[in-house]
């Protein structure tokens, strides 16, 4: 089925004679077979967004529809790989076409030559349905890839192969209830704009451990939850995203570089193979899928990239894994949407963005979640979606930030003032929030006792008080404060500097376990408590502030992750003694 181009305007192409094509079909455009997708149909005329540069296309050129919506190939070979926005493998494109991305390169998403060692689980005679595991492939040293019956297929297993196979070869034959036999390969396809099916969705109730103190203790996110990281440029959005990609206790990370810098993707590509997962010692790249559609790559493919990423994430979720999707940045995705909308001459909403911006964003985030997967096993898996937002001028009142805030449950607001003061991660504790605190409370209480969340509440209270006191100090100076208020300011400073600040580039500090976070916070709060008692007994506050142990508290976060318990015990003991001395000294005078 083919049509003819009548109009070309940037990435938008209009073609007639496509009466049989469907909306959302992938089409091949022009001599070079550029990849495009049908957005709208009027009669036999289709509006097509083309995922590659359209320079050199003109009326009269041919458009061929493939009859299929934009889909990804799912199967072994995705991990440890880097794709563009429409799942073309970048290393193979480089091998085929050189250092630059030329047009019309046709390389399969999954390598058709590579053989994988398939180990069957199902036996002939088994009755299987969608989601049941037919067998497994050890895809990387870190991840066991489960080959599942694709959605829409069920019946009796007639035969199962084992051993070395490529992704396209049949590894099983399934006979359905009507007696039709179907060959099932390891690879399956799924249209990116449709969420993959699952049995049931749950309310997320387990935290995702990120090793970042401000996140885990102050504003935690649940596995299967949604979060946004908004911030102006230079506030460290990308570092936060990288930290999450590195340290999150999930099985799989899908990192989508959506309209961002090329060198940042290179950084991930070079760094992740070197970094070891703190839980199993495997290189982090072995659990990572990268989608890179950098800012200079075609804008339509940028629009598709977040769907490509989340579909891959859902596929791993269906195996029963916990997956994190990190999208950097959703603002660039929204801009791609705006550009296509403008070319389609749609009526613009706020700031030129299309009126459906909010609903598209919501649809994306809603694909996150904690689910019971298809299949008789009853596996559970989760997709956690974390999107960076790059608001113009750092102004959160713009449409993308506002639409995002309405959907996500966790908001880590980055602040340029903190970044200038080199307070990193520059997440502002006063404007950020997490709506998972209530659902996660049970988990924290079960594992660390009620004190964990109580400490958190106390620390937040101190920080809030500090912001109020700062107003006064700015007006009348520090001397006007009461002793108790001065202590609050001092404790708040300790919470900020000794607890919240975390250096992503120092090995001992980059990842903090829950236990370490808990004890560190407890030391700071205990200092506050002891000083308050001492103050009540008339101790000199200035002396309390300079007791020698303070320097040790300042360096406590750098303590060896394996041996911090003893160090912290010693600090606590020293702290008690030194404060007692100050009290005693005061009484003697």
């Amino acid at each position: 089925m083919s049509g003819t181009i009548t109009k070309v305007s940037g990435p938008l192409v209009v073609a007639e004679g496509l009466a049989d094509a469907n909306v959302s079909d992938v089409v091949r455009v022009g001599e070079r077979h550029l990849i495009g997708e049908i957005l709208n149909m009027t009669g036999d005329t289709a509006s097509i967004q083309v995922y590659e540069e359209t320079s050199g296309l003109g009326p009269g050129a041919e458009v061929i529809t493939t009859g299929m919506p934009l889909s990804v190939e799912l199967g072994p070979g995705m991990l440890d790989n880097i794709y563009d926005g429409i799942q073309r493998p970048l290393p193979e494109m480089r091998a085929a076409a050189g250092d630059l991305i030329t047009r019309g390169i046709d390389v399969p998403s999954l390598n058709r030559e590579k053989k994988w060692d398939f180990v069957p689980v199902a036996k002939p005679g088994d009755i299987v349905s969608a989601g049941d595991v037919l067998g497994t492939v050890q895809e990387t040293s870190a991840i066991l890839h489960k080959i599942m019956v694709p959605p829409g297929i069920s019946g009796e297993v007639v035969s199962v192969e084992s051993g070395e196979h490529t992704v396209a070869e049949a590894i099983a034959v399934i006979r359905d209830s009507r007696g039709n036999e179907r060959e099932v390969p390891m690879m399956q396809r799924w249209p990116v704009r449709i969420g993959r099916p699952y049995a049931k969705k749950f309310v997320p109730n387990r935290p995702m451990n990120s090793g970042q103190r401000i996140i885990d203790t102050m504003f935690p996110i649940a596995k299967g939850g949604t979060a946004a990281v908004p911030g102006p440029f230079g506030s460290g959005k990308t570092v936060v995203q990288h930290q999450l990609a590195k340290w999150s206790d999930v099985d799989i990370v899908v990192y989508i570089g959506c309209g961002e810098r090329g060198n940042e993707m290179t950084d991930v590509l070079m760094e992740f193979p070197e970094l070891k997962d703190p839980r199993n010692g495997e290189p982090l790249m072995k659990r990572t899928v990268l989608i890179a559609n950098t800012s200079d790559m075609p804008v339509a493919a940028r629009e598709a990239s977040i769907y490509t990423g989340i579909t891959i994430a859902e596929y791993f979720r269906d195996m029963g894994y916990d997956v994190a999707v990190l999208a950097d940045s959703t603002s660039r995705w929204a801009e791609a949407l705006r550009e296509m909308s403008g070319r389609l001459e749609e009526m613009p909403g706020e700031e030129g963005y299309p009126a459906y911006l909010a609903s598209r964003l919501a649809q994306f985030y809603e694909r996150a979640g904690c689910v019971q997967c298809l299949g008789s096993e009853g596996r559970t898996g989760s997709v956690t979606a974390i999107g960076a937002v790059s608001p113009p001028g750092g102004d959160f009142s713009e449409p993308v930030a506002q639409a995002t805030m309405r959907i996500v449950k966790v908001f880590w607001a980055l602040d340029s003032a903190l970044a200038y003061a080199r307070h990193f991660p520059a997440i502002n504790w006063l404007t950020s929030y997490s709506l998972y605190l209530d659902t996660l409370r049970a988990w924290y209480t079960e594992n660390f006792g009620e004190k964990y969340m109580n400490n958190r509440a106390r620390a937040m209270h101190i920080l809030q008080e500090e912001s109020e006191l700062q107003e006064i100090v700015r007006l009348v100076g520090q001397d006007a404060l009461s002793g108790s208020d001065r202590l609050t300011m001092e404790t708040a400073k300790m919470v900020r500097e000794d607890f919240l600040q975390q250096n992503a580039f120092v090995d001992e500090d980059a990842y903090s376990s829950y236990a370490k976070q808990f004890r560190l916070m407890d030391i700071v709060l205990k200092y506050d408590e002891l000083c308050r008692e001492a103050l009540a007994k008339g101790a000199d506050l200035n002396k309390l502030f300079v007791i020698p142990v303070r320097e040790k508290i300042g360096r406590a976060k750098m303590a060896d992750p394996k041996a911090f318990d003893e160090i912290y015990d010693a600090i606590e003991k020293e702290m008690q003694e030194e404060i007692a001395q100050v009290v005693a000294g005061g009484e003697e005078e």
């Binding site: 991305i101 309209g259 200079d296 801009e335 113009p392």
Partner: protein
């Protein structure tokens, strides 16, 4: 055979509509021949059926609808490149204007370039010594980085850019370097300042200049930086040179883009700039970098003036989201006579961490850098407090910090445009300034480096 059309339907500068065309493709280059023989250039923006919407690169003045002819050339806008471009001056459309001969092209390159495959990039990690302490010491530039200068009207950004172009070198390295300079809508005087400076230092022989001055057609400005980058890519990746690209002024570029967008009646984004400003800027900025297995590199220093000194204006804002940091100049410092007036705290180089340290600059670089930042930040706070509450309100430490901030601006930042400091000199100066502070305050530097570089005096 190339067809000629005498079917110009409409001209609303800078757009033109041509009817009854055949075989015209998107982004194709065209020529308009005026009745008097003048030839102007244009490119296809949109083609629908037999009607082409064309953007003029030059002024529309004198085009007669009935008497002018249009030819479409079947290729996008290209630049003839060759090593002979070094030492030459071109106009914004790539034509020589220095009176010299035409370039004998070794190749013709599409000026829009192609996106670099992220898997083919090499991460920038080689330290470039610019001789400017605020850059080398605190916001280190590395080879292949794009580091813009955010300036304001009336500040000496040209002097700083020229100083960098003059002094920049990679330590222990004698590879061939080249400068590509694109003047985008700036004044003759500013452009001459750069060219004279290149001439004075002899760099002119290794420089390619593309010049679109303020009185040249604004639409040409869309092509000028792309011409420059095409030349730079050729020199860097095909001839193995280390190329420094200076683009000035990006604000003029963005305004030209807005002008064309408005003519096309596109839905405007913020402040009337087109919604695709980010993507458009990115396709230029992202052409900087290094490629695996290639010797050359493109390091880019775009200069832009922030309208109303406002960093959140779309042009600096979107630039900051694409580039790897920014050097911000401050009017306050300039008024105090500090040259170059680099505002250290909001300036940033995102790639510095990979370019500094033992073997690259010196082992103590990272620690002293953080300490200087933190100390200057605290010193400035202390000074602010002092202006409100008086010196008596400061603690003893804060008084030292305030003193540090003053000295830091006077000695570290204000080095003038002729001083070329080595990285050792910059780092040693940092230590000297840190001596103002009590040693116990130096929490961000490892003890061993304090012992080594700041031995006790007694």
């Amino acid at each position: 055979m190339i067809k000629e059309y005498k079917t110009i339907k409409e001209i609303v500068s800078p757009l033109m509509v041509v009817d009854n065309v055949e075989g015209v493709t998107y982004d194709e280059l065209g020529e308009i021949e005026l009745p008097n023989g003048d030839v102007r250039r244009c490119k296809v923006l949109e083609v629908e059926g037999s009607r082409a919407v064309v953007q003029l690169f030059e002024s529309a003045q004198g085009i007669n609808l009935a008497g002018s002819k249009v030819r479409f050339l079947g290729r996008p806008q290209e630049l003839a490149v060759s090593e002979d471009m070094l030492g030459r001056v071109f106009n914004g459309m790539g034509m020589p204007i220095d009176g010299g001969p035409e370039i004998l092209a070794e190749a013709h390159k599409d000026i829009n370039g192609l996106p670099m495959n992220p898997a083919a990039r090499a991460y920038p990690a080689e330290f470039i010594q610019t001789g400017v302490s605020t850059i080398d010491g605190l916001n280190t530039l590395v080879r292949g980085q794009k580091l813009p200068i955010f300036s304001c009207s009336g500040l000496p950004h040209a002097a700083l850019a020229a100083q960098i172009a003059r002094q920049a070198r990679v330590l222990g390295d004698d590879e061939t370097f080249a400068v590509v300079f694109a003047a985008i809508g700036i004044t003759f005087e500013e452009s001459e300042y750069f060219i004279n400076d290149f001439r004075r230092t002899g760099a002119i022989d290794r420089t390619v200049v593309f010049s679109n001055l303020a009185n040249d057609p604004a639409v040409e400005r869309i092509s000028t930086p792309r011409m420059a980058l095409t030349a730079a890519e050729y020199l860097a990746f095909e001839k193995g040179m280390q190329v420094l690209v200076i683009l000035t002024d990006i604000t003029n570029y963005a305004e030209a883009l807005r002008e064309i967008s408005a003519a096309k009646k596109e839905v405007p984004g913020r402040r009337g700039y087109p919604g695709y400003l980010y993507t458009d800027l990115a396709t230029m900025y992202e052409r900087a970098g290094r490629r695996q297995g290639r010797k050359g590199s493109i390091t880019m220093i775009p200069i832009l003036t922030m309208p109303e000194d406002d960093k959140t204006h779309p042009i600096p804002d979107l630039t900051g989201y694409i580039t790897e940091g920014q050097i911000i100049l401050s009017r306050d410092l300039f008024r105090k006579g500090i040259i170059p007036p680099v505002d250290v705290l909001p300036s940033l180089s995102r790639l510095k961490d990979k370019g500094i340290g033992a073997g690259k600059t010196r082992e103590d670089h990272a620690g002293t850098m953080n300490q200087l930042f933190a100390a200057y930040s605290r010193g400035k706070d202390a000074k602010e407090l002092m202006t409100i509450l008086g010196e008596a309100a400061l603690s003893d430490d804060d008084k030292l910090y305030a003193q540090f901030a003053d000295e830091f601006e006077k000695r570290y930042v204000s080095q003038g445009n002729e001083t070329n400091r080595t990285i050792e000199e910059t780092l040693d100066l940092g230590w000297e300034l840190l001596r103002i502070l009590p040693k116990r305050e130096l929490k961000r530097i490892k003890q061993e480096y304090i012992d080594k570089y700041m031995p006790d005096e007694e």
